[in-house]
């Protein structure tokens, strides 16, 4: 954990942390949003139509591969957003920049929703394939479930604490400390397979997806989801910054 004993002077340095100043961030995102939002929508629509309408090559899974077009990007987003939150929390603690704390706070609900989507689509993939909606032995599904709980805990901690500065630092500590166990959960639940071999989600989806007809729409959906994430993140952060502004004004009056 970073021990930040020296007081940071908080002035906006003309370095790459420029966007960390709330004022700069609002101006920057104000220019960015108008063109990135339509791009995100278009890419998403194209990706989805492609995934649903594409002629699939012969595949043992047959049509069920189409669920992969939803499950894999969602799971990836769920995991990558948590990684982004770890970085934002670290920057927030070390450089003491409130905006990066707000980035982590704004990203959490989005990550939680993506993780939930991954779980749901995973269950819908599992039901026809193994005949069970949920498999506690499947490492990827277990890791997704545990990470989803971390998201809920993180969001709950933010809402439970009034003072925004201590809330952001405590949430950052939780995010950083929790990340160790989120990472561990990914590999620990694979241990069940050492007891008895059976095919599971994690076993198959790596290899079969390399085929071009599947790979390209998958990539388009990846890019689409990242764009959607950035748009939602920027809007949420602008909301959070305004909320902090309202709080600061109220305190200054008070």
């Amino acid at each position: 954990m970073a021990q930040n004993s020296t007081a940071d002077d908080g002035s906006a340095r003309p370095s790459i942390w420029r966007f960390a100043n709330p004022h700069e961030f609002m101006r920057l995102t104000g220019r960015l949003l108008p063109w990135i939002t339509p791009l995100a929508i278009v890419t998403l629509v194209v990706g989805l139509l492609w995934a649903l309408l594409a002629e699939l090559p012969p595949h043992p899974q047959g049509e069920r591969v189409r669920i992969m077009f939803i499950h894999v990007p969602a799971a990836m987003m769920g995991i990558n957003i948590y990684a982004m939150m770890i970085v934002a929390s670290l920057i927030g603690l070390i450089r003491r920049h409130p905006v990066s704390h707000l980035a982590a706070k704004a990203a959490a609900p989005i990550g939680a929703v993506y993780m939930l989507a991954a779980l749901v689509s995973g269950a819908f993939w599992g039901a026809p394939t193994w005949g069970a909606w949920w498999d506690f032995g499947d490492a990827r599904l277990m890791a997704a479930l545990i990470l989803f709980f971390f998201y809920l805990g993180y969001i709950a901690l933010w809402n439970a604490i009034e003072d925004p500065t201590s809330a952001s630092e405590l949430a950052a500590v939780l995010c950083l400390f929790g990340s160790i166990f989120a990472f561990l959960a990914r590999y620990v639940s694979a241990f069940w397979n050492t007891l008895h071999q059976k095919t599971s989600l994690s076993a198959i989806d790596g290899k079969e997806l390399v085929d071009d007809a599947i790979f390209v729409p998958l990539m388009v959906l990846f890019v689409a989801n990242y764009l959607v994430f950035f748009v939602l993140l920027m809007i949420s952060m602008r909301t959070e910054i305004r909320a902090r502004r309202v709080q600061a004004l109220r305190v200054a009056e008070g």
Binding site: M1, G153, L157, A160, S166, L170, V173, V188, F191, T194
Partner: protein, 218 residues
């Protein structure tokens, strides 16, 4: 640091009957799981290790809420922070006291409980070993959760939501070790990883908890 550990133990013995209360809770939870499962021996043998692990985790979780809260309310936490020993050491001794009143008694009583569930001897031995190695990790991660939710009124529920996912690796590996032993497979890899998690928690949890305490105590 030793002074704080001994004080917490003495207080635990004097106030909540020390290990007695958490031990009775441990047995109650395991018994309740026993009730709610068909008493067929083969099924019980499989559920047994799970029951013991769940009972241990819940016994730890229940008493985490007051770990720092009591000292925070009467001002002792401030004085502890001002003491010569670093806050990380104080967290370590409090987590050790918590383990001594919840994790340790559960580990000692696990064989007895495993017999009630007719768990085969090999699995009982491995389960007890897994608890002995894994239970401290529950107290250490729990201490971080308790420090994080210090400022929250009635933070008990929030504490559980935050800490339960952190218990998952230890609980999964405990179950895997017991199950492997029951199937006459080699449980050592699971036990070794359990030890690794506890050592990792030993190294990191005090710093995370101390950082959270410093934020909350200011």
């Amino acid at each position: 640091m030793r002074a704080l550990f001994l004080r917490d133990l003495r207080l635990a013995l004097r106030l909540g009957g020390g290990a007695g209360l958490s031990l009775s809770f441990f047995f109650i939870v395991a018994a309740v799981i026993g009730f709610s499962v068909e008493p067929d021996p083969k099924l019980l043998a499989q559920v047994g290790p799970g029951a013991v692990l769940i009972a241990t985790a819940l016994a730890a979780l229940i008493s985490l809420d007051r770990l720092f809260q009591a000292d925070f309310e009467d001002g002792s936490l401030e004085q502890i922070a001002l003491g010569p020993a670093p806050l990380e050491a104080a967290v370590l001794s409090k987590a050790a006291a918590h383990w001594a009143t919840t994790g340790l008694p559960a580990t000692l009583c696990a064989p007895l409980l495993a017999q009630m569930f007719q768990v085969p001897d090999a699995a009982t031995l491995t389960l007890t070993l897994a608890l002995a190695v894994g239970a401290p990790a529950l107290s250490l991660t729990g201490a971080v959760g308790a420090a994080l939710t210090l400022g929250v009124r009635r933070g008990g529920l929030l504490l559980s939501v935050i800490v339960a996912p952190m218990f998952s690796p230890t609980l999964i590996l405990g179950a895997v070790a017991a199950r492997a032993a029951a199937l006459q497979l080699d449980p050592s890899s699971a036990l070794l990883l359990l030890a690794a998690i506890t050592i990792g928690a030993l190294a990191i949890a005090p710093f995370a908890a101390a950082a959270a305490l410093r934020i909350n105590v200011n």
